[in-house]
């Protein structure tokens, strides 16, 4: 989720009301984005992915104005610019939207805001420019007609902030943005480009030309949005132009001619959705009249018209997150105020209960404590060194992570015992005897399962003292099994982690379910342990 820092004075001037820091935080938190920090001059906000319309300072201010009732109605005028952009078939990036924005006052605030919104939208909503990329140009430097074409990598551009012309291919090799984003298009034969009479002025999703760069002298803008998903391209355009309109710029539409299809962008008409007043009330748990509900909808930027007991809701053109009626219900609840909703437990009698395995696990845990053992809790993630090498075991197939973030946690544990030895090894200054246990899951490969693996519940116990042996651990194990009423048998076992002749497998109902023994001193040395340790690990079935 993007975190963005804004100028507080610009935000307040766009809101049009002087709010204290507390008031500002309160209202923004209640609308949805989270206020992280407010300083003398700045406000930092963590946004949620569903509201890209709030990423820009203008959209954020608009939402605050609406929520506080400073602004009631909103209307976006769109004039026809008379411009047509012919769009050739560009397979790698097939969809475009264009707009002309006139009478722009490029104040420091607006320049900062334009840079901010492009960066944030590119990163998040644009999925790092793969899904959507934005180009902003000085309209007066463009010489129409404008075409969107698939350009050969050999064609040339003077990229932004450069003075020399270079091939598109060289942009990918030599220009920073080319190196960052070139991978999005480099595999295609033809690369996306906007051209006018003078040549390429936009090379999406990489870079603009220096010729059409925006400066403090710029009065009119040309916006190009390109992408792989038409809906997202159009929505991004709507967010941008409605933000600019908040600064009194004039929006003009552009005809996009795909040959087989013609569209006009931006399209700021509002989509309609019908909601049922009763259903909305039931969903939130309140009882609002249709009229009252319309007021809360207005607070959230919607227009609504009453039709019998239903509301026809007009969705603002910058809202990208309204897929279903429930999305509007949430906004009614937000308009009402989450903290004004009274929490209530419903009358819904159901019978509760524990999972069988957990009941048994708890019996075992309680029993282990009675026997003087200290419970510990460790990570399910482990590594092959701990799980196999240090235990003297051959490495075997194990659930392995593709993208580990540390060498400590690269696989899922097959055994709990290594975790216990690790705990003993970091506590050698603590008084002995040390007797610890963990009840928890290990992960085994099982090709029969839907997930090719299964969780197996185990208990592992390790006891350490200056003298400790098989008899001691066998006594603990036997006492534990007696408390939880499980019959078992022991059978001699050779296990590389244990001293030969002092290890047994644990058999229950003719199935081997665990092992018990004295840890071999070589294994202790691997863990840098200086006390003898005896241990067992057994499946809880």
């Amino acid at each position: 989720m993007p975190t963005v820092t804004y100028s507080k004075s610009d935000l307040l001037s766009l809101i049009g009301k002087n709010l204290s820091d507390e008031q500002l935080k309160e209202v923004i938190d209640q609308i949805k984005p989270g206020v992280e920090e407010i300083s003398a001059n700045e406000i930092t906000i963590e946004h949620y992915a569903d509201r890209p319309d709030l990423f820009g300072i203008e959209g954020l201010a608009r939402a605050v104005r609406q929520y506080l009732g400073i602004q009631k109605k909103e209307k976006f005028d769109v004039k026809d610019s008379g411009l047509t952009v012919v769009a050739e078939k560009v397979d790698i990036r097939p969809f475009i939207a264009c707009a002309v924005v006139k009478d722009v006052k490029l104040t420091d605030e607006l320049i900062k805001s334009l840079m901010n919104i492009q960066e944030v939208l590119h990163e998040t909503f644009g999925r790092k420019r793969t899904r959507v990329a934005i180009g902003v140009h000085d309209y007066d430097e463009i010489v129409p007609p404008i075409k969107y074409v698939g350009a050969s990598p050999a064609e040339r551009i003077i990229p932004l902030e450069r003075e020399v012309e270079m091939s598109l291919r060289d942009v990918l090799i030599n220009v920073e943005k080319g190196k960052d984003y070139g991978h999005i298009i480099s595999k295609a034969d033809k690369w996306p480009a906007f051209i006018d009479q003078e040549g390429i002025f936009s090379f999406p999703p990489i870079i603009n030309s220096n010729r059409t760069r925006v400066s403090e002298k710029t009065k009119n803008l040309f916006l190009d949005i390109t992408g792989t998903n038409e809906k997202i391209v159009l929505q991004t355009m709507n967010i941008l132009v409605t933000n600019l309109a908040e600064r009194n710029a004039k929006i003009e539409s552009v005809k996009v001619n795909y040959g087989n299809k013609k569209t006009v962008t931006p399209n700021l008409s509002k989509e309609k959705m019908i909601i049922d007043v009763d259903e909305a009330n039931e969903w939130v748990g309140i009882k609002l009249s249709a009229e009252k509900m319309m007021l809360f909808l207005q607070k959230m930027g919607y227009d609504a018209k009453k039709i019998k007991n239903k509301l026809e809701v007009l969705i603002p053109p910058y809202r990208t997150d309204i897929l279903h009626q429930v999305d509007i219900y949430e906004d009614i609840a937000i308009g009402y105020g989450y903290n004004k909703l009274k929490p209530e437990l419903p009358k819904l009698p159901t019978k509760g209960g524990r999972n069988e395995q957990e009941i048994f696990s708890n019996e075992v845990r309680e029993a282990a404590v009675k026997l003087g053992l200290q419970e510990v809790l460790t990570s399910i993630m482990s590594n092959e060194k701990d799980q196999f090498d240090k235990m003297g075991l051959e490495r075997t197939e194990v659930a392995e992570i593709e993208n580990p973030v540390s060498l400590e946690s690269t696989i899922m544990r097959k055994s709990i015992l290594p975790n216990l030895l690790k705990i003993l090894s970091v506590n050698q200054h603590v008084s002995y005897p040390q007797k610890i246990f963990e009840v928890g899951d290990v992960i085994l490969i099982d090709k029969k399962e839907e997930t090719q693996t299964r969780n197996v519940r185990k208990i592992s116990v390790a006891i350490a003292d200056s003298k400790i042996g098989f008899q001691d651990i066998a006594s603990v194990f036997d006492a534990l099994m007696k408390i939880v009423k499980i019959k078992y048998k022991l059978k001699e076992l050779n296990h590389p982690s244990f001293i030969k002749g002092r290890c047994a497998s644990i058999i229950c109902k003719n199935k081997q379910i665990g092992f018990i023994g004295e840890i071999h001193p070589q294994i202790l040395q691997n863990w840098k342990l200086e006390m003898p340790v005896a241990a067992f690990e057994v499946e809880l079935i």
Partner: protein, 421 residues
Amino acid sequence: MAEYRLSEEGKEYLKYGLPEKNLVEFLNSLPQKTATIGKAGSKVKNLPIALKWALEKGWIIKKGDQLTLLKPPYQTEEEVALKKIDAGMKADEKSLKILLERNLVVKVSETYIKTKKSLEKSGNVIAELTHDMIRTDLWEGKEFKKIDVIHVTKKFKKASEGNLQPYRKVIEEVKEKLISLGFKEAKGPYVEMNFWNCDALFMPSDHPARSIHDIFSMKNPRYGKVLDKQLWKRVGETHKNGWKTGSKGWGTWDEDLARRLILRSQGTAVSARTLYKWKKIPYKMFIIDRVFRPDVLDAKHLNDLDQCEGIVVGKGLNLRHLLGYLEAIAKTVGAKKVKFKPSFFPFTEGSVELQVYHDELGWIEAGGSGIFRPEVTLPLGVSVPVLAWGLGIGRLSMIKMKIDDIRYLYSDNLQWLRKQR
């Protein structure tokens, strides 16, 4: 009895040669008597140690990355001394001093003498492995007396009580509370299919929270099995065009990605499985168990954490009921004040973030919740409202445990754990 004995490292060098000796021997074996550090490192064990001593002794010179032999290798006094000490003879003072400094030789302690004697007395067969034997390495090469593991006498002597893990105790209290509210406990696998963790929850295939920074993917095994083709079709259609949910859908769906195995990143995966499996409505389900996130944390942090996941499934449920359950859980862990904030999750609408007040830390985010979207419930076969939450039970437990550092939850400090009664 000799006064000194070889350390583990000393024994290794006696057997395989001193590292610096191995290095010069390696260089001497080359026609040009020179090699890069990288090359030498691949042939000579313990190269950093070898380098240090070979340079100090003036046997080699190092120019940049290049090592060149100056003197041919010869037997060193240290090697002679190591052999002597191992044989129980006296070594010369100068060599002994160096060997002690290099920790290749240690002074024979009284414990060593005592332990050695007692071992000799028992014919060098170990009846009982002791701390002293491990400390002195005297177990090495000795035989262990065989124990009759099957018939060994098992007589448990009652010692003092042990102690439950303090965080587990809080988890059990929350479980009890939920059970008293009519919740049934569920289970689910740690290695999970993307389908249950994300797709069945209407998270679009290209959702940023599905990136490698947010979810652990499995290298082995990689893909899960599709058990119910009809279900997969419903979920896929919902993503593509909304299916019969009344939604617009996302326009696309990546089925291959849905089959990929991952570590579950949210307990909500179990909620999705439950909605699909449990047919008798109404019901309440909970699970408090591990989830896994690849957050880059400091060394002491774990990549697994516990989540308290719950769903309430029944007619007539609403947002205020959801807040009711959140408040009840927060109170169970001793939170005095709670607050609700709008939030966003792809699978809920009416998304709520629970905030609780911690005396030391102030307001803390305790987790997310909401009413499941119809795009989640309908394809899974549920047509009544479903309240859902996934709370960071660790953070909530910090209130009850009166701790202000989350790392105590999985503490490996036995002293601290023993004190938490």
